[in-house]
């Protein structure tokens, strides 16, 4: 599982690949944190839980990342690592996630960029030979 930043006029796009949907959500969260600060500097001994639901997995992914943007903007919460579980329950898709991280500490973290939100632009989760893949565009 990995993520790769892509060149994109105006904003930041990241391609995330993973073996499963759970891992894809975890990796996307890691990519988000790595966009904001140097991810290696984030301590992960505190925990914040998130539960969400949406009508489709790709919409759930955007909701998830937007939730993390919101947590950062309001509580300065940086989620360095996450454990996610995603499943379908009837009409909806559900997410239960534990995020591990800490609030921004300007003495140790240098903010590289502020993400204002995550977009629906050309949003799709696709199956590939290695597992699943998505490209997410962050608005900055």
């Amino acid at each position: 599982m990995s993520y790769l930043f892509l060149d994109h006029t105006g904003d930041i796009a990241v391609r995330v690949t993973a073996a499963s949907l759970d891992r894809l959500f975890e990796e996307a969260a890691a990519a988000l944190a790595a966009t904001i600060v140097d991810a290696a500097a984030v301590r992960t001994d505190r925990r914040l839980d998130v539960t969400l639901e949406a009508p489709a997995p790709d919409l759930l992914l955007v909701d998830w990342l937007n939730e993390l943007v919101y947590r950062f903007e309001t509580d300065l919460w940086l989620a360095g690592r996450a454990e996610a579980r995603v499943w379908q329950a009837g009409e909806v898709w559900q997410l239960e996630a534990k995020t591990f991280g800490e609030p921004l500490d300007e003495a140790r973290h240098r903010v590289k960029v502020l993400i204002k939100g995550v977009t629906y632009h050309q949003l799709a989760i696709q199956e590939t030979a290695e597992g699943i893949e998505t490209v997410v565009v962050f608005d900055i």
Binding site: L6, D7, H8, T9, G10, A13, K116, G117, T119, Y120, H121, Q122, V135, V137, D139
Partner: protein
């Protein structure tokens, strides 16, 4: 993100205006304001497809318009103007953008 070269048909109207003629599901033409210098850069940008896409929206009046500073945006291009019928048209948050102001 890499993009295929734009497959949009572009016709010159005069020194400062270009048309994307209506085709397929487009309800109106696309109209782009640019001279030769600017159109050279715009041609390579996926924003022309976005001008074309906006022309598909219900209730759009006149043309899907693009100003000379047009560039790629989410869904709608940045530098775009779309007038919708005030009764039968649609409203789109993407046609305003994130930084509402």
């Amino acid at each position: 993100m890499s993009h295929e070269p734009s497959s949009v048909t572009l016709e010159r109207i005069d020194a400062n205006r270009w048309r994307i003629p209506r085709s397929g599901g487009m309800r109106v033409d696309g109209l782009i304001f640019a001279d030769d210098t600017l159109i050279a850069e715009i041609r390579d940008d996926p924003c022309l497809e976005q001008v074309r896409n906006v022309a598909h929206l219900p209730g759009i009046v006149g043309a899907s318009l693009a100003m000379p500073d047009i560039h790629w945006g989410y869904g709608f291009p940045i530098g775009g103007v779309a007038a919708m019928d005030g009764v039968d048209g649609v409203i789109s948050p993407g046609g305003v953008g994130y930084d509402i102001n």
